[in-house]
C-alpha cells in the first residue's frame, strides 16, 4: 500500500515525462485493441455472410463432389435421398445442382459454373425467387462481380452452353433476371444461378442434386449412403485460415507497437534510475531496504500502464465505439481477391479482448520496469546518497 502511494506520488510529481509515456502506452492500447477488433469483426462478418449466402447450417455433398476439382462435377450428382424429400418440402433443406458450362456475353467465351437452386428456398440469402419468372430465355441470376466482369445487366440476353448427362452439348439463350450483391465471392464470381427444375431438365437429371444445404446446424447428422456431411467447421475452414494468416501478420504490428511502448518505459526506467541515484540512496538511508526501493521503481513503471489504460479508456472508448457503430470503409474490395470481406467492416470489441490486452501490457510493462530496477541492488548506498554515478 505504501509502495503504491509513493509510486503514485513519484509519477504525478514527474509531470510531463510521465504523461508522455502514458500517452504512448495508451496509443498502443487503443491500436492493439482496434486492430484485433477489426480482425474479430471481419471474422464475424465473414462467418455470418458465408453462413447466410453459401453454407447454411451445414451441407451434404454427393460423395464425388470436390469444389476444387472441376472434373469431379461430371459425376458428382445423384438423386436426392428419399429421407431428405420431406425436409426439402418443409423448407428445412434446399438442393443445389452444379455443372460446368460456357456463356458468350458480347461474343466472348467465358467458362462458368451453372448452379441450380429452388426459387422458393429461404435458407440462403440469394434472391432466388426472381428465377421463378417467365422470360424469353432461361432466367439466370448473377452476382455483382460476375455482372461487372462480363458487362452484363438485368435484362441482357446471352448464349449459354452446357453438357447433358448423356454427354451431348446443348445451348440456349439466357436472360439476366436479377443481379445480387454479396460479400461472398464463391457464390458470385464465375457463377450463374438458375432454377433447379430448369437445370435438372437442361442436364436431363431429374430429381438429382450435387449438394443439399440444411437450414439448422445439425450436431448429429444422419449418415446417408453416397453422401458426405460437411459441418460449418469444415465449410468455413478456408476463411478461418485466411483470417488466421492475417492475425499472424497482425502479430508483427502488435509486436512493433508493444516494442515501442516498452522501449519508452525501459528508457524512462533506465534514465530514472540513473538520474535518481541520490533519491535512491536517501530512501535507503531513511530506512527502506534495497528490495523495497526496487519494488517501488518497478511499481512506478507498471503504474504507467495503469494510467495508460485509464487514458486509453477515456479517448479510445468513444473512438472505438464510433467505429464499431459506423464501421470502417475498406479501401479495396476483398471479393476481388476471393476473400469474403464487406465493403464496410464493423470491428468487434469483446470484454475478453480488452482484458487480455490490458493484462498483457501490464505484465510486460512490469517486467520491463523490473529489469533496469535490479541495478539498484548493486548500488552502494553511501555513493548513491552523494549522487555519484555508479
Amino acid at each position: 500500500m505504501l509502495a503504491l502511494k509513493l509510486a503514485y506520488k513519484n509519477l504525478i510529481g514527474a509531470g510531463l515525462r510521465t504523461w508522455l509515456n502514458v500517452f504512448v502506452l495508451s496509443l498502443s492500447f487503443v491500436i492493439i485493441i482496434w486492430h484485433k477488433g477489426m480482425l474479430d469483426g471481419w471474422d464475424r462478418q465473414a462467418r455470418t455472410d458465408m453462413i447466410a449466402w453459401e453454407c447454411g447450417g451445414g451441407q451434404y455433398w454427393q460423395k464425388d463432389y470436390d469444389p476444387y476439382d472441376p472434373y469431379s462435377l461430371t459425376s458428382s450428382h445423384a438423386p436426392v435421398p428419399p429421407s431428405f424429400l420431406a425436409p426439402l418440402r418443409q423448407g428445412k433443406m434446399t438442393a443445389i445442382l452444379v455443372t460446368q458450362g460456357s456463356i458468350y456475353p458480347g461474343g466472348r467465351v467465358q467458362s462458368v459454373l451453372i448452379k441450380g437452386i429452388e426459387p422458393e428456398q429461404k435458407i440462403l440469402s440469394l434472391p432466388s425467387a426472381v428465377l421463378d419468372s417467365a422470360s424469353a430465355g432461361i432466367p439466370v441470376l448473377i452476382g455483382q462481380n460476375m455482372a461487372r466482369a462480363n458487362r452484363l445487366k438485368t435484362g441482357d440476353v446471352f448464349s449459354m452452353r452446357w453438357r447433358t448427362a448423356g454427354g451431348a452439348f446443348d445451348a440456349s439463350d439466357a436472360v439476366v433476371v436479377g443481379i445480387f450483391k454479396s460479400n461472398v465471392p464463391s457464390v458470385d464470381a464465375g457463377q450463374l444461378w438458375v432454377a433447379l427444375p430448369t437445370l435438372q431438365k437442361m442436364l436431363d437429371m431429374p430429381g438429382q442434386a450435387t449438394l443439399l444445404i440444411t437450414s439448422a446446424v445439425n450436431e448429429h447428422p444422419p449418415a446417408i449412403d453416397g453422401w458426405k456431411y460437411r459441418n460449418l467447421e469444415f465449410l468455413l475452414a478456408d476463411v478461418e485460415n485466411i483470417i488466421k494468416a492475417k492475425t499472424a501478420g497482425g502479430a508483427v504490428l502488435w509486436f512493433i507497437l508493444m516494442l515501442l511502448a516498452m522501449l519508452a518505459i525501459l528508457d524512462t526506467q533506465v534514465l530514472s534510475i540513473f538520474r535518481r541515484q541520490k533519491e535512491i540512496g536517501t530512501c535507503i538511508a531513511l530506512g527502506m531496504t534495497k528490495g523495497q526501493v526496487i519494488r517501488l521503481f518497478t511499481l512506478e513503471g507498471a503504474m504507467h500502464s495503469l494510467f495508460a489504460a485509464v487514458l486509453a479508456f477515456i479517448w479510445g472508448t468513444p473512438l472505438l465505439y464510433l467505429q464499431a457503430k459506423n464501421g470502417i470503409r475498406m479501401p479495396v474490395k476483398g471479393q476481388d481477391f476471393g476473400v469474403s470481406m464487406a465493403d464496410v467492416l464493423y470491428p468487434t470489441y469483446g470484454i475478453s479482448l480488452i482484458l487480455t490486452t490490458t493484462l498483457i501490457v501490464l505484465l510486460t510493462t512490469t517486467i520491463v520496469s523490473y529489469l533496469p530496477s535490479r541495478k539498484i541492488a548493486r548500488m552502494n548506498p553511501t555513493e548513491a546518497i552523494r549522487g555519484k554515478i555508479q
Binding site: K9, T282, L286, M288, T289, K290, T382
Partner: protein, 234 residues
C-alpha cells in the same frame, strides 16, 4: 546501554578496494558516544569522517573491529534489521539536503513516518510539530525547488527529527549554506539537542560548525588524533 553509551566503536578498520590492493580509510579506531552528545568528527577531506559516519549509520559495514550502535552490531545485522535501525532510531542530514524533489515540504517530512506506519492523524501532528521547530510552517506546500538552501536544510532537519530519533548523523550540513543560514541551522540543532536530548554527531571541517560542537574528535588519515571537550561554546 551502559552509562547511556549509545555508540561503542572498538578497533574499527575500514578498507576500500583500489585496483589490486586496498585503501585503508579507517585505521583501528576506538570511540564511544553518550546519549545527548553534540559531537563532531573533524578533519580534512579524506580523513575518514564520512566513512565513520556511514558505518555508525549502518549504511556501510566495518572491515574489522566492532561497532555497536544502540546495542546492535553494525556489520552483523541483516539487510532488514539494518534498514529497521535506520528507519526507527536514526536520523540523517546530508550536505546536499537530499530532499525528494517531487514531494512537498510536508511530504518530505512525512516520509519517515510513512515508512514507520504511523496513522494519518498522528503523522500530521508530528509533521506540523517538526516544521514548527524549524520555522517552516508557512512553507508546507512548497516543493524543494521553491526553497532557498537554508530552507531546504531546515526541511532536512525536520525530516531527520520528526520521528524523534535517538541519534542524528549530519554530514557537512552547512557546506552549501552561507554564514547566516549556517548559524540559524546550527542554533536549531543545538535547541533540539537541548530540548529533546537527541544525540547529534557531525562530520565537518567547517569552522562555524566546529565552534558549536561540545566534543571535537579530530581525524587524520583514518586515525583519531585528538578527542577533546570544547571549552568555548557559542
Amino acid at each position: 546501554m551502559e552509562n547511556s553509551q549509545i555508540i561503542k566503536i572498538t578497533e574499527l578498520v575500514k578498507d576500500f578496494p583500489v585496483g589490486s590492493g586496498y585503501f585503508r580509510a579507517l585505521n583501528h579506531i576506538s570511540l564511544g558516544f553518550r546519549k545527548g552528545e553534540f559531537a563532531g568528527l573533524v578533519g580534512p577531506s579524506g580523513s575518514g569522517k564520512t566513512t565513520l559516519l556511514n558505518i555508525m549509520g549502518s549504511l556501510d559495514v566495518p572491515t574489522e573491529g566492532e561497532v555497536l550502535v544502540l546495542d546492535q552490531k553494525v556489520g552483523k545485522l541483516s539487510v532488514k534489521e539494518s534498514a529497521f535501525l535506520r528507519k526507527s532510531k536514526l536520523g540523517f542530514i546530508f550536505q546536499n539536503y537530499n530532499l525528494l524533489p517531487v514531494y512537498t515540504v510536508y511530504e518530505n517530512v512525512e516520509f519517515p513516518l510513512l515508512l514507520l506506519g504511523y496513522p494519518a492523524r498522528e503523522r500530521k501532528k508530528m509533521v506540523l510539530d517538526a516544521l514548527e521547530w524549524v520555522g517552516l510552517s508557512p512553507k508546507i506546500k512548497s516543493k524543494p525547488n521553491m526553497l532557498s538552501g537554508g530552507e531546504c536544510q531546515r526541511v532536512a532537519i525536520a525530516r531527520a527529527m520528526v520521528k524523534k530519533p535517538l541519534l542524528v548523523l549530519a554530514d557537512e550540513p552547512t557546506a552549501n549554506l552561507d554564514a547566516e543560514n549556517s548559524h540559524h541551522i546550527l542554533q536549531t540543532m543545538v535547541k533540539l539537542n537541548r530540548e529533546l536530548n537527541t544525540t547529534f554527531i557531525f562530520a565537518t571541517h567547517d569552522e562555524k560548525v566546529i565552534s558549536y560542537l561540545k566534543r571535537r574528535i579530530s581525524l587524520a588519515d583514518g586515525k583519531v588524533i585528538k578527542d577533546e571537550i570544547a571549552v568555548n561554546q557559542s
